[in-house]
């Protein structure tokens, strides 16, 4: 296994994973770099308790499969998030119940949010977005979660889910249109003074 940067890039994961084939302790560097990202992503999707299990299991699985890490790739974050996404499929019920809890919960405005109008409106519409996410298909929800919470690009999502980039683009576009429709409807009802009906609208 040879990384594209040949180890010259600081924090190159490909070199650390290649070194872990000879010395398993070298995988500790990958853990130190990416554990926070993986844990936060899992926590956003399924809560802290599930995040502990999923993130821990993600690195164990990644260590076992480190020989399959693609040649010439420096960044292991998409690969790790793809493993975490697969592991989170076992916690689908937990994720959906969590989203529905967000949808039913009152808007929690963080301090300072009032200053930015967009942010305020986003916080107000978060429950609607949670409801919309819960109604999406699993594939589409995974793509939007990786796009919004893990902040991956389309190419990285394709790499994480092992699907073509075109598929990711089309699915992401379809999911975003769906959510936008729901958000526009919610905004329209909010302007009319009926926020409750907007939240429950399909």
């Amino acid at each position: 296994m040879r990384c594209g940067c040949d180890g010259t890039r600081p924090g190159c994961d490909g070199t650390a994973i290649a070194a872990s084939l000879r010395d398993p302790d070298a995988f500790e560097a990958v853990f130190a770099r990416h554990f926070d990202v993986v844990w936060r992503y899992a926590c956003r999707r399924a809560g802290p308790q599930v995040a502990d299990d999923v993130s821990s299991q993600t690195f164990v699985v990644a260590f076992d499969r480190r020989r399959k890490f693609r040649d010439g790739v420096c960044e292991a974050r998409p690969w790790l998030l793809g493993i975490a996404t697969n592991l989170l499929r076992r916690h689908r019920r937990t994720e959906l119940s969590r989203l529905r809890a967000h949808a039913a919960a009152p808007v929690d405005r963080a301090p300072g949010m009032e200053e930015a109008l967009d942010r305020a409106s986003a916080a107000e519409l978060a429950p609607v977005a949670a409801e919309a996410l819960a109604r999406l298909s699993r594939r589409d929800r995974e793509i939007l979660a990786l796009l919004a919470w893990a902040e991956l690009t389309y190419e990285e999502i394709a790499q994480a889910l092992d699907v073509p980039v075109g598929t990711v683009r089309s699915r992401a576009h379809r999911a975003r249109v769906r959510i936008r429709e729901l958000l526009d409807a919610a905004v329209a009802t909010t302007d009319e003074g009926e926020p409750q009906s907007a939240r429950t609208a399909p």
């Binding site: 554990f35 936060r40 690195f59």
Partner: protein, 208 residues
Amino acid sequence: MDEIEVIRQLGVSADHVPARSVHRAREALRERTAHRRRPDRVRRLAPVLAPVAAVALALVVALGAATSHEHERAVGSGSERAHPAVRLPSPHGHVRALRPDLPAAPPTQAAPAQPPPAQPPPAPSASSPALSGSAPAPKHSGAATPTPAAPKRTATSPAPPSSGGTGCASTPATRPGKQQTQAVAPQDCGSTPAAPPTTSSPKTETTP
């Protein structure tokens, strides 16, 4: 307003990952890496284990070969005598074919204590190494001709001075092809075999 930005506002983003979670995950990973490190010990011992295994294998093979060789010796000692009889007939089969007749003739004619059979054996014994030595000779066309000629001369020449009657009696029967040697040998032998037995027997009779 971007829908992705709205999704990002969902839930509470943990600013700090709990240390307990990190510690727990790190322990799980270390346990797995320690589990995977065990095969590396075997790999480290491979340079030591490989020669030992090779020596053990060589010992087993040598022991098996030795036991099988001893078994062959013990069982097939008679078969070693059979080998020359099988090999020789091709180049010098006629000479070897004479051999059974040489010891067979004396007991029929004279007493068992006759020493002359001791004289003819040197000729076949001397010829047999020559034959065995000349066995590869037929491959070379130039060298093959003199070596078969030598045993023929030794076989014919010692016979007349010592007691040629014993050896020559069988030659006509075994050599139908060669006419000159056959024609000469029976003439010499025809006179000699009759005389020696007759001369020897009266001597033994008169002495007492």
